[in-house]
């Protein structure tokens, strides 16, 4: 009985919190711009099959008789060397980019966070040493290089590209959570939970994790853009999705062969990448300011 009302109280407190944060977030025009841009991108990517002018262009479609046409009313961004509508392929390409970003985050955040929690909580024990030293090794080389190395030994596919990025990216979450968890470990509420004999799992995932949520969310919203950026770099060198999958990075790479005359083949997908990354950056910055997470 008592417990229920507590939750109720908690709920309303949280609701209040969210409302206040939203107010703070919405005061910043840049953050709102980011959010609106993300919503627009989401709309166009989710409904890509319905809103794109030539949905068949995203699949196994070729029409060499309409190849390399400059932007016109029929094809707003022109057509590529296969005669496919570039605007359509950009919509679908954004889709794959977003899927890539979300999947990578889904793969690495749980792993990175759990490892970080364990290492932070067991500060001083061999567990911490093992986990954090392995993390150090993965961080010792710039992420793009590690991702390229991993990707190059696998068969190029969207899944393998995601795997490669995940291998290069998880340690940052471990580091982040480790930093917070190891300082929280000495805090009063953790100590008291320990004294009252609370379950270790409860301490880790309830007491400590809850306090890491803001920084994790902030990092995730910012990382979304970076992951898409790295993904596009991988596919730029041919280590991404298989044709005819529309993939922004490989669209830029393929189009760059036709520069400068058929500039539209590479320039529009390049803008699309910039736009996606930009919107997630604006959004992420907004989240950070709102949640009051320190930079860096």
């Amino acid at each position: 009985m008592q417990k229920k009302s507590l939750t109720q109280e908690e709920l309303s407190r949280r609701w209040e919190n969210i409302r206040r944060n939203w107010y703070k977030f919405s005061r910043n025009p840049l953050s709102i711009t980011g959010l609106v841009m993300i919503c627009i991108i989401l709309f166009f990517t989710i409904f890509a099959p319905f809103v794109s002018p030539y949905p068949e262009s995203a699949g196994k479609f070729i029409n060499f008789y309409e190849a390399s046409q400059p932007p016109s009313l029929n094809h707003l961004c022109g057509t590529d060397a296969f005669g496919r509508d570039i605007l359509t392929r950009i919509f679908f390409g954004c889709r794959y980019s977003l899927i890539m970003g979300v999947t990578v985050l889904l793969l690495i955040v749980p792993v990175g966070v759990v490892l970080g929690l364990i290492a932070g909580y067991h500060r001083g024990s061999w567990l911490e040493i093992v986990i954090m030293r392995i993390t150090d090794i993965f961080i010792a080389v710039p992420p793009l290089i590690l991702a390229l190395a991993v990707c190059s030994v696998l068969t190029p596919s969207i899944f393998n590209a995601m795997l490669a990025i995940s291998i290069a990216w998880w340690p940052w979450y471990t580091r982040l959570v480790y930093g917070i968890a190891s300082s929280l470990k000495e805090e009063f509420f953790v100590k008291s939970a320990e004294v009252t004999g609370a379950n270790k799992m409860y301490i880790l995932f309830r007491e400590i994790l809850l306090n890491c949520i803001s920084p994790i969310l902030t990092k995730m919203s910012l990382d979304m853009g970076w992951i898409i950026l790295i993904g596009s770099s991988l596919s730029f060198v041919g280590l991404g999705a298989q044709p005819p999958t529309p993939d922004l990075g490989s669209m830029v790479a393929d189009g760059s062969k036709y520069l400068p005359d058929q500039w539209w083949i590479s320039v529009f997908p390049a803008f699309a990448i910039m736009l996606i990354v930009l919107s997630f950056n604006l959004f992420g910055d907004g989240i950070r300011d709102t949640l009051g997470v320190e930079r860096g």
Binding site: V141, L148, A149, V153, G225, L229, P260
Partner: protein
């Protein structure tokens, strides 16, 4: 002083550990891939006994840990094996290609530092004016644009439309390179007094270096601005203002130094993005550097070369971070050396 030495020693020991770990990691990645690297190196029609001979030579028939043992033994003597593509020792290749990459990274690093800090300072100084907004928009665009997109745009604009800058290699064909002292052409040219070569080399450097620097320099500009704006609101600045100290003096004497600390702190990380993106940019500009060599090695599955290149770049990254830490420690004794830098 003693503290600094102790710090360096500690960091070096740690670096050795990380390098060994990294070598195992990358060795495993490079070797677990399927296929027969010896066959690939020798071409389609080499008879089986030739392939077998090369496999023996490379210890490819041994279990992984034995291979690693041989590799590590060689690596300790500076021998990273033979490249399957260039057919030279990988150590020689690295010696040959590293200076070009170093030169590129160096100039990119300089551009990133100077332009980033200048832009950030201007932005922070004129905070919330149109200048500030313009710089902020530009730096946002800089951050979100992949370096390969910059590279392609620059090639398009400067060498194709305007035709003022070259796009291939380090020197104009026909220009006799200066005698190699450091391997870094611009330095060699200056040392030997060959100013024409110096400018020719600089001209070739400009586009790739700026393509690489654009992203990180925007990052630096943003951070510099943020911390400047932060520090302006601090009490001590207000009190200085009230004492009638000229704005310019405040700016350069009291404000800039502390504001640069966060900028320099992330310099190391930004340097990572230069090293990583060099893989794509060197490819686009046909820059004969280590990253292009590494990229080709990756595409051609040249195991020894992949392992060595990643290790060398890891080493460069580690050194860059140590330098950054020392600089930060020097600028701000309060932070002190040896404190764990945060992850981002």
């Amino acid at each position: 002083m003693g503290r600094t030495i102790k710090f360096i020693a500690k960091r070096l020991a740690f670096s050795v550990f990380v390098l060994v770990g990294l070598s195992i990691l990358i060795f495993v990645i490079a070797r677990v891939m399927p296929g027969n690297p010896a066959r690939m190196a020798l071409g389609a029609r080499a008879p089986e006994w030739v392939v077998e001979r090369l496999r023996e030579e490379m210890h490819l028939n041994e279990p992984l840990y034995v291979q690693y043992y041989y590799w590590a033994k060689g690596a300790l003597h500076g021998n990273f094996g033979i490249s399957l593509v260039t057919r030279r020792s990988v150590a020689n290749d690295i010696k040959a290609f590293f200076p070009a990459s170093l030169e590129l990274a160096l100039y990119a690093g300089i551009f990133m530092g100077i332009i980033g800090i200048v832009l950030g300072t201007i932005s922070g100084w004129y905070a919330n004016t149109w200048v500030d907004n313009l710089v902020r928009i530009i730096s946002y665009m800089g951050i979100v644009t992949p370096s390969f997109v910059f590279a392609i745009f620059f090639v398009l604009i400067f060498s194709y439309v305007l035709e003022i800058l070259p796009t291939i290699g380090r020197l104009t064909p026909g220009v006799v390179p200066p005698p190699s002292v450091t391997g870094v052409i611009t330095f060699d040219a200056l040392i030997t007094g060959r100013f024409d070569v110096f400018f020719d080399a600089l001209k070739h450097l400009l586009l790739p270096a700026i393509s690489l620097a654009m992203g990180p320099l925007s990052q630096e500009a943003r951070i510099t601005r943020a911390s400047l704006v932060d520090n302006v609101q601090k009490d001590y600045i207000a009190s200085e203002r009230s004492c009638g100290i000229p704005e310019r003096t405040i700016m350069f004497k009291y404000l800039l130094k502390p504001s640069l600390i966060p900028t320099i702190t992330i310099y190391g990380l930004d340097f990572a993005s230069i090293l990583g993106n060099a893989f794509l940019v060197e490819l686009i500009f046909n820059w004969p550097g280590l990253s292009r060599y590494g990229m080709n090695a990756m595409l051609q599955k040249d195991l020894n070369a992949i392992t060595a290149v990643v290790l060398v770049l890891g080493l460069v990254f580690i050194i860059a971070n140590i330098v950054v830490d020392l600089t930060v420690g020097y600028l701000d004794p309060r932070i002190g050396l040896g404190t764990e830098r945060s992850s981002e």
